[in-house]
Every structure is written in structure tokens, then in C-alpha cells.
């Protein structure tokens, strides 16, 4: 029994020691493992630890401003108060929004959007809840942040368009980059960062954007910044300012003068080609797009009959109508098919083949020379010129004056318009050109289409005799172009006729304008009306007599081109008023007023009325 016990104790001790040895081996293994990690591989882990500890935060660059020609900002940056949520810290996003909803309003629409974004993005990435808060709400949120985990009030720069609506079509607007655009670009993915979507904002994105900087920060596991290390960071490079050729005051004036109509106006410096105003009405407030336009607001804009989102000055195309006659007159003189003395008899219509081509004045103009024909806009005279010139020479003159090709001004979506000829008709319609089409092309109707910008360029070229090209940005070279006429005397004849349109009785805008309204300065102009709808004989009998009795959509487009001073042209303006009725009535007065403002503001023009009232010099 005793030895049995001793043997049992011995057996126990043996087995206990075996276990002890096993334990020692296991603990040695732990020590070896620590040695491997902490001594052998420590460098690797040190690097990983620093990766954890430090982060580079992207610092978005300040966007360059857009200035008018005098340096007045028309697209600027302002401080915006916004609130973002970091889902990781907020926990339940719905609850966080409920809590925040007691302080600021969050519409169900916004709520859906936020929750969608929270679902989509990684949980550490901030999601914008509300942009552009007023100071009161922002302060209230700041006060309550301890009770709002993961809700972070921030101050950021946001785009601001101080003159809003009048510049909307030129500037366009900025918006957050779409998921597709953003790709892996961290800057584009940065919350609140916006890129140019349309207009100059989009066209000059590269200049305006600048480049992102990085801020080295020490962060904790939740991504909360513990410390900033500016000395190890790269500052963001702000975007450069872009300077427009636009004169903000003229732009605003042009916009306001046309507001209420569906219209466009383009003002251009005939020497440099600088675009001074590029207005399209109605406009829209680009600020709405920056902060997020609601569906209702967008629909209201998108479905408006006057098409406020459409830039009529660049994208709208209209038959240039009688404004084109000035070009045809010049082409006829240059071709030698007419001189200043030859008279054509206008009986109110001519016959060609089995068709009758009417003059706008049914009772005819009688015997008219070129000057009379331009002044009174006699259609029959230009039907005759059309037959003498042929479509090729008319089309080539039109192209020389900038029609039929899109001017390169550095904005997207500029229309080419149409200068029709035999070739064009064949490829477009597969049909042969007819003589009658030459006739209506010569009066700027039919297939011919031009944008208000092209009409302004055409006017600038008529005024200067050179193929000036329009420019919108002061940092782009001005192109004064080539001499356009062989004999300067021909140009003088046409210009004299254009002066007569406004200043002499019988001129189509003599009664509506009668002059520029600036003493000692004369202007020249040309009206145009492009038919949208023919008033039929039946309707005439039914009592529909004038444009004003027609529904708006069916009225003629009115257009007017002009320049001043008539003797030494400096500024040209083209206006189109959609469905405005005749050009002399609807389009001429606003064009003249814009032109007058330009003359009054011109620092170089002589005379008591042309003081630079704003004391600023163009650069």
C-alpha cells in the first residue's frame, strides 16, 4: 500500500513535470514569437503603425474667380456653412438625422438622398447633410455638437454668382462631379468640391480648378484628427482667375432690357472682336444649381416655353432675314453686278417660273437703287441681286461674314447655323437646288440660319471691313482678321445705306429709332423679321390682320443689327426677339439702347456725352 502510494506520487510528479516542460516549451514559443515580431520584424510594423497614425487630408484648392473685363468678379467664392455626417461615428444614420432634424429642417427628399449616400459610400467618408446653412442654424448645430456624434459642422468655400441670372448662360455653373466623372480622383470625390458643368465654368475648368494640396495629420482609429502637421504638408494651389471680355454693366443692362421677352443680344467690339455682352433671356439663377436645385425648380425651368436654360445668343439659330441683305448688297457691289445708280423697279412681287415672290411691301417700292433698297429693305431688289449673283457667290459672301461656321469663343455648344448652297441641299435633302431658293436665301430666309452671335460677328465685319473674330476671354489673343473687301468704297456705300436705315425717312427703323440718342454720334442698323407662320388669305379675311393678333408662338422673330458710330464704327450689337413681331418694333429699340450705353461708356469717344461715367479703364 505504501509503495503503491509512493509509486503513484512518483507517477504524478513525472507527469506534472512533463506538463511543466510542455508549458515551458509553449512559453518559450511565445517569447520567440515576440522576438520575431518585436526585434526581427519591428521595422515593418513601425511603418504600418505610422500609416495608421498619419493621414494625408486633401485640401481642396480655392477655385479661380471669373472677372469681367474691368476686374469685377462675376463668379466668386464665399464662405458656406454646411453640416456633414461621418456614418462611422454617427452610428445609426436615421437616428442621427432625427436628432439633427430637431435643429434644422431636413426635408424627406433630402433625407432620402442622404441615406442613399450613406449606403453607398464607405462608412468613414463624410456625407453632406445640408449645404449652405444660415448662420443661425449653423451656430445652433455647433452648440449641440456634443450631443450629435458624427455630425460635423464645417465652413467651406462655395461658388457664388453675385449677378446671378444675367450671367447664367456665359458662366454656367458648378456642381459636384458625378460618380462617373469622379472616378478615383480624390479631389473630385471630396465632399463639397464642385466642377464646372456648363458655360465658362466648364470650358475654363483647367484654369479655374487649381490643384489640391495635402495636409499631413495625425489621426486616431476613428479618423478623427488629433494634430495637424503643416510643415510636412503641401498647400493647395488655388485656381487662376479668368477674365472675360464682357463688360458686366453692359451685360446686366442688356439682360434687363430684354427681360420679359424670349430674346438674345450680343454686343461686340468691332475692332478687337471682344464680346462685351452676351445676353439670353429669360435666364436662371446659377446659384440654384450650386447648392442643389429641387426637381420642382428644375422642371419649372426646363418646361418653360421661353426656354431659360437655353443660351439663345450662342445656341439659338434663326433666319437672319433682312439683316443679311447688307452682306448681299456688298457682295453685289464687289461682284460688279450692280452700281450705285442702277435702279430696279419693285412692283411688290416678281414672277420666277410659275412662282410669285412677294416683296414685304405689297404695293411695291417703285424704282429703287441699292441705297434705297437697303434702307427700305426692298425684297424685290434683292431677288434681282440673287439672280445676278447666283447662290455660290451669296453663300461665299455669307461665309466670309462668319455665317455657317461656329465661332471659336471657348464655350461649348456654339451653333454653326446654316449657309445653304447646291452642295448642302444635295447632301441634306438629296434634292437639287432651285432658283427660287437662291431668291429667298438672298433675303436671309429659307434654309439660312444664324445665331445672334453670328449676326453680331457679321455686323462687326460689315462695320470694320475686316474678318474680326469674337473672343470671350481676355487671355486669348484678339484676332482682327483680314481685309474683307477689294474696294473700300463698296463698304462705304453699304454703310451709308445702313446709316440711312436709322436716320432717314423711309428707313425701316427711322420711325422706331430715329437715331442713337447721343448727340453727335450716328448709328447704322438693319432690321429683319423672319416668318414663323404665313398669314393666309383666309385668315386675313377672317380678321387676323397683324402680328399682335397672332398667338405668341406663331409671331415673327424680330431681329436687329446695328453699330456705332456710323462713321468710325466701334461697337456692334445684334438682337433677336423670338416671336417679337417685326424687327424694327421689337428688336431695334433694345439693340439701340445697348449700343447707346456702349458709346456713352467708351472712354476714347469724343463729345460731352461719352465720358466714362464709371471711371474705369479697359485693360
Amino acid at each position: 500500500m505504501k509503495s503503491d502510494r509512493q509509486e503513484q506520487q512518483l507517477k504524478f510528479t513525472r507527469r506534472a513535470l512533463m506538463m511543466g516542460a510542455g508549458g515551458a516549451a509553449v512559453f518559450t514559443a511565445l517569447g520567440a514569437r515576440l522576438y520575431q515580431m518585436q526585434v526581427v520584424e519591428t521595422e515593418r510594423y513601425r511603418v504600418l503603425s505610422e500609416d495608421n497614425q498619419f493621414n494625408f487630408l486633401l485640401t481642396p484648392p480655392s477655385r479661380g474667380r471669373i472677372l469681367d473685363r474691368f476686374g469685377v468678379p462675376v463668379a466668386d467664392n464665399r464662405d458656406s456653412y454646411r453640416v456633414v455626417m461621418i456614418p462611422e461615428q454617427a452610428g445609426d444614420a436615421e437616428e442621427a438625422l432625427d436628432r439633427l432634424g430637431r435643429i434644422i429642417e431636413i426635408t424627406p427628399e433630402q433625407r432620402d438622398r442622404i441615406l442613399r449616400n450613406v449606403q453607398r459610400a464607405p462608412r468613414f467618408r463624410p456625407v453632406t447633410i445640408r449645404d449652405d446653412l444660415d448662420w443661425g442654424s449653423f451656430a445652433a448645430i455647433n452648440l449641440q455638437t456634443p450631443d450629435l456624434p458624427g455630425i460635423i459642422p464645417e465652413v467651406a468655400e462655395i461658388r457664388d454668382y453675385p449677378s446671378g441670372t444675367a450671367f447664367a448662360h456665359i458662366l454656367g455653373y458648378v456642381q459636384p462631379a458625378s460618380e462617373i466623372d469622379a472616378g478615383n480622383d480624390q479631389l473630385l470625390r471630396h465632399p463639397g468640391f464642385r466642377i464646372g458643368r456648363t458655360g465658362a465654368e466648364a470650358a475654363r475648368e483647367d484654369t479655374l480648378r487649381g490643384s489640391a494640396g495635402s495636409l499631413k495629420v495625425e489621426v486616431n482609429a476613428f479618423g478623427r484628427v488629433i494634430r495637424e502637421l503643416p510643415e510636412q504638408s503641401n498647400p493647395a494651389v488655388p485656381g487662376e482667375d479668368v477674365r472675360l471680355t464682357i463688360d458686366a454693366d453692359v451685360q446686366r443692362f442688356a439682360y434687363e432690357r430684354l427681360d420679359g421677352e424670349s430674346a438674345a443680344a450680343v454686343a461686340i467690339d468691332v475692332e478687337s472682336g471682344d464680346l462685351l455682352a452676351l445676353a439670353s433671356t429669360p435666364g436662371f439663377d446659377p446659384n440654384l444649381f450650386v447648392t442643389g436645385i429641387s426637381q420642382t425648380q428644375f422642371n419649372a425651368l426646363n418646361q418653360n416655353e421661353f426656354r431659360p436654360l437655353f443660351n439663345k445668343a450662342l445656341q439659338g439659330t434663326y433666319p437672319p432675314a433682312s439683316t443679311f441683305k447688307a452682306v448681299v448688297a456688298l457682295a453685289a457691289l464687289e461682284a460688279g453686278v450692280i452700281n450705285t445708280t442702277e435702279r430696279i423697279t419693285c412692283t411688290g412681287s416678281i414672277e420666277l417660273g410659275n412662282r410669285t415672290f412677294n416683296c414685304w411691301r405689297r404695293r411695291g417700292h417703285g424704282r429703287v437703287n441699292l441705297r434705297d433698297a437697303v434702307k427700305s429693305s426692298c425684297d424685290v431688289f434683292f431677288y434681282e441681286m440673287a439672280q445676278r449673283l447666283g447662290i455660290d457667290r451669296i453663300a461665299s459672301a455669307a461665309r466670309q461674314f462668319g455665317l455657317g461656321s461656329a465661332p471659336e469663343i471657348g464655350l461649348a455648344g456654339v451653333s454653326r447655323g446654316i449657309v445653304p448652297d447646291e452642295q448642302w441641299k444635295l447632301s441634306r435633302y438629296g434634292q437639287r437646288w432651285s432658283q427660287g431658293e437662291t431668291l429667298i436665301t438672298a433675303i436671309g430666309q429659307g434654309f439660312m440660319l444664324a445665331s445672334p452671335l453670328q449676326m453680331a460677328v457679321m455686323t462687326a465685319r460689315l462695320a470694320s471691313g475686316r474678318s474680326v473674330s469674337p473672343r470671350l476671354y481676355l487671355d486669348q489673343p484678339a484676332d482682327q482678321g483680314q481685309e474683307l473687301v477689294h474696294d473700300p468704297a463698296h463698304l462705304d456705300i453699304v454703310r451709308d445705306a445702313l446709316r440711312a436705315v436709322v436716320h432717314e425717312p423711309g428707313g425701316t427703323s427711322y420711325y422706331s429709332l430715329g437715331g442713337l440718342g447721343v448727340e453727335g454720334v450716328e448709328m447704322a442698323g438693319k432690321t429683319g423679321s423672319s416668318q414663323v407662320f404665313s398669314i393666309s388669305a383666309a385668315e386675313r379675311e377672317a380678321g387676323v390682320r397683324s402680328q399682335s393678333e397672332l398667338p405668341w408662338r406663331l409671331r415673327d422673330h424680330g431681329m436687329f443689327i446695328c453699330y456705332a458710330p456710323a462713321d468710325r464704327p466701334r461697337y456692334a450689337v445684334a438682337t433677336v426677339v423670338e416671336h417679337g413681331g417685326g424687327g424694327s418694333r421689337a428688336a431695334a429699340p433694345p439693340a439701340r439702347d445697348i449700343l447707346r450705353l456702349l458709346i456713352e461708356r467708351d472712354p476714347s469717344a469724343a463729345g460731352p456725352f461719352v465720358q466714362n461715367t464709371h471711371g474705369r479703364q479697359p485693360t
Binding site: 508549458g23 512559453f27 517569447g31 514569437r33 513601425r46 495608421n52
Partner: protein, 381 residues
């Protein structure tokens, strides 16, 4: 052994004199390390962990001393009641338990909130030690001698696994098997059992685990697969340890710890703070302290005259060693994350009391090493 008397101390003073002070000091040292690490875990603050750890430690020591002074006969008598009570509590957890992190582990009894599985770790040891104490040595390998321990180990571990708490279940099983081994299980059965286990474990991994447990094990095998999910703990823990280097980054200077990259750092991952802030030297020192404690307990076990005390000491020592091994193995990426604390250093009341209770039994065994209670001795009989 010659310096000590061959008799059993009877008076309070005698018993206190016989207390194994080196073990007590080592335990106090571990507690102090825990307080220090918890102070650092709170970014250099007493609250919320360090102070409470310290405050809990004092009654823990008191409990330990009381347990140590009670005679082995008492614990022998209590062995089965404690086991049955713990088993009942585990069943209670099944039905009334409170769920924390998806596992039912906590039981609220009036003011006390406890984890019955912690009690069970000691209860299994006591029950097995008592069983073998009563069992004639020649019957160890009999059917009776095999089936009763199989029940004593199997029933509680099955309940714990069902909570589910894989770590504790493994701990209970391994500790129990160690006691069976020490009790004199024949090598034939050991080898046979080993072969059976080689087949059973893969089957268990396949069918016996909850999804999250399986995922943890697979994540352990390849943590980089899921760096922000289940692998996050292991990756961050390894970074903390590895970046500590030879001597560490200094007290409260560990960036992983201080910047909160380590989740649960005050409980299961506390060793990483030590490794990051005190480096290889600090980590090795703590492992050394544990090793010293264990060496002492093996010596105590070897000196005990009764089977009950020997097996109790070795069983508790095994549990303790497993705690340390699994915890450090886990944070160093050697073992899967199974949620086992580092004894006396990790924050957590139940575990600390359980560990100190266990050491009370060890110290008591040392005091009463010469006691030889007869087989079948009752509570006071």
C-alpha cells in the same frame, strides 16, 4: 521540504506563516502591471479602468487568503455541490442569461452580475480532483473511472460551447483532460484518444461551431483577407506589438493604443499595450512573471501529499497557463481570436475574482500540503 514541518498547521498564525509569499508577491506584481496598463489604456487616466481594477484587486486578494486558510477537507466537501451549482447556473444562463456581443454569458442574480462559466472552470477542477481522490488508483482506467470524468468535463463544456463561448469551452476541456492525464490515465488510452481527436476535431470545426466562431478561425489563418472586419483586431494588434520594438515606445506613448487603433484594448488585447509601450523587454518580463508563478505552482503540487490537492493545484495551474498562452498567442497572431483575458492584467471583475479564488486554493494546498484527508471525506468529517 526539510525546512518545513511535516505536520499540518492548525492555527491562524501558523497558517499565515506557511503562506507562499513568493506566489503572493508575483500575483501582486501582475495586478500592478494590470493597473499600469489600464492607466495607459485610458490615455493616462485612472478612470475608467485602472482605478476600478485596483479596487477590485483588494477584495480579490482577501477572498484568496480566506480560501487559502480553509482546510482541504472543506473544499473536498464542497467540490460536488459547487460543481452542481455551477452546472445549474450554466443551465440558467441558457434560459435567463443576458446577451453581450451575441453570446449568452452573463447571469443577473440580484446585485451580482456574473459569468457562471468562470465558476465552472474551478468547479470542474475541484470535482475531478475529488473524484480521483476517492477513486482507487487501479480503477482510473476502468469504465467507471473514464465515464464519470467524461461527464464532469463534457456536460459543462457543452453548455459553455452553446452560449457560445469557444475559448472557455476549450479551456475547460483541456484543463479537465490534463487532470485526467495527471491522475494516471494509461498511455494506451491517451494515444487512442489522441487518434480519435484527430478525426473528431475537423468534424467539430465543420459542424460544431457558430458561423462567427468559424469565421474567426479562418480570419486567424489569413487576417489580411478582411482588414476592416474580423481581421482588424489581429492586424492592429500585431502592428502595435511589432512597432514596439525591443524596448517599446514608452509609457503612454504607444500610438496604436493612444489613438484607439486597438479595440477592446483594456480587456483581451491588453498585452498589446504592454508590447507597444514596453517592447520585447516588457513583454518577456511579464511572460517571465507568469512562468515563475507556474513553476511555483508545479513545485507546490509536487509537494502535496493528497491526490485532491495535487490535482487541484495542477488543474488550476493548467487553466492559468492556458489563459496566458491563449491570450498572448492570440494577440501575437499565433492563435485565433477566442476572447480569453490575460489573467490579473486584463480588465474584468469576474475573471479576476475567479483567478484569485483559484490561487487561494493553490496557496491553501501549499499550507495544507501535508494533510491527507481520507477517501470519501465529507465536509467536516
Amino acid at each position: 521540504m526539510a525546512v518545513f514541518r511535516e505536520t499540518v498547521p492548525r492555527t491562524f498564525q501558523e497558517k499565515l506563516f506557511e503562506l507562499n509569499w513568493s506566489v503572493v508577491l508575483l500575483l501582486l506584481l501582475l495586478g500592478a502591471v494590470g493597473v499600469g496598463m489600464l492607466y495607459s489604456a485610458a490615455e493616462g487616466a485612472w478612470n475608467p479602468w485602472a482605478s476600478r481594477h485596483f479596487i477590485r484587486f483588494l477584495p480579490g486578494i482577501a477572498i484568496m487568503l480566506v480560501v487559502a486558510l480553509l482546510p482541504p477537507r472543506f473544499w473536498m466537501g464542497m467540490a460536488y455541490p459547487i460543481f452542481l451549482g455551477a452546472l445549474a447556473l450554466l443551465v440558467g444562463v441558457e434560459f435567463f442569461g443576458e446577451s453581450v456581443n451575441g453570446a449568452q454569458r452573463w447571469l443577473d442574480i440580484g446585485p451580482i452580475r456574473m459569468q457562471p462559466s468562470e465558476i465552472m472552470k474551478i468547479a470542474v477542477v475541484l470535482a475531478l480532483a475529488r473524484f480521483y481522490h476517492d477513486l482507487p488508483p487501479e480503477k482510473v482506467n476502468s469504465a467507471f473511472g473514464l465515464l464519470v470524468p467524461a461527464f464532469l468535463i463534457g456536460a459543462p463544456s457543452a453548455l459553455i460551447l452553446h452560449q457560445p463561448d469557444l475559448g472557455t469551452a476549450v479551456l475547460v476541456v483541456v484543463t479537465g483532460v490534463a487532470i485526467v492525464f495527471l491522475a494516471g490515465l494509461s498511455w494506451r488510452i491517451i494515444i487512442g484518444g489522441g487518434i480519435a481527436a484527430a478525426f473528431a476535431i475537423p468534424a467539430f470545426l465543420r459542424f460544431g461551431l457558430e458561423e462567427y466562431q468559424r469565421r474567426r478561425i479562418f480570419t486567424f489563418l489569413n487576417p489580411e483577407e478582411d482588414p476592416l472586419g474580423a481581421g482588424y483586431h489581429i492586424i492592429q494588434s500585431k502592428i502595435a506589438l511589432g512597432s514596439g520594438g525591443l524596448t517599446g515606445r514608452g509609457f503612454i506613448e504607444g500610438t496604436q493604443t493612444q489613438l484607439n487603433f486597438l479595440p477592446e484594448k483594456q480587456t483581451d488585447f491588453i498585452f498589446t499595450i504592454l508590447g507597444e509601450e514596453f517592447g520585447f523587454v516588457g513583454g518577456l518580463a511579464v511572460i517571465g512573471i507568469y512562468a515563475l508563478v507556474l513553476a511555483n505552482t508545479v513545485a507546490i503540487a509536487a509537494a502535496c501529499k493528497s491526490t485532491f490537492l495535487r490535482l487541484t493545484v495542477m488543474g488550476i495551474a493548467t487553466t492559468f497557463a492556458l489563459y496566458v498562452f491563449i491570450n498572448i498567442g492570440m494577440v501575437t497572431g499565433l492563435l485565433p481570436v477566442v476572447g480569453v483575458p490575460l489573467p490579473l492584467i486584463s480588465y474584468g471583475g469576474t475573471v479576476m475574482v475567479a483567478v484569485l479564488f483559484g490561487f487561494g486554493l493553490i496557496l491553501g494546498a501549499h499550507i495544507h500540503r501535508n494533510a491527507e484527508p481520507p477517501r470519501g471525506a465529507g465536509l467536516f468529517g
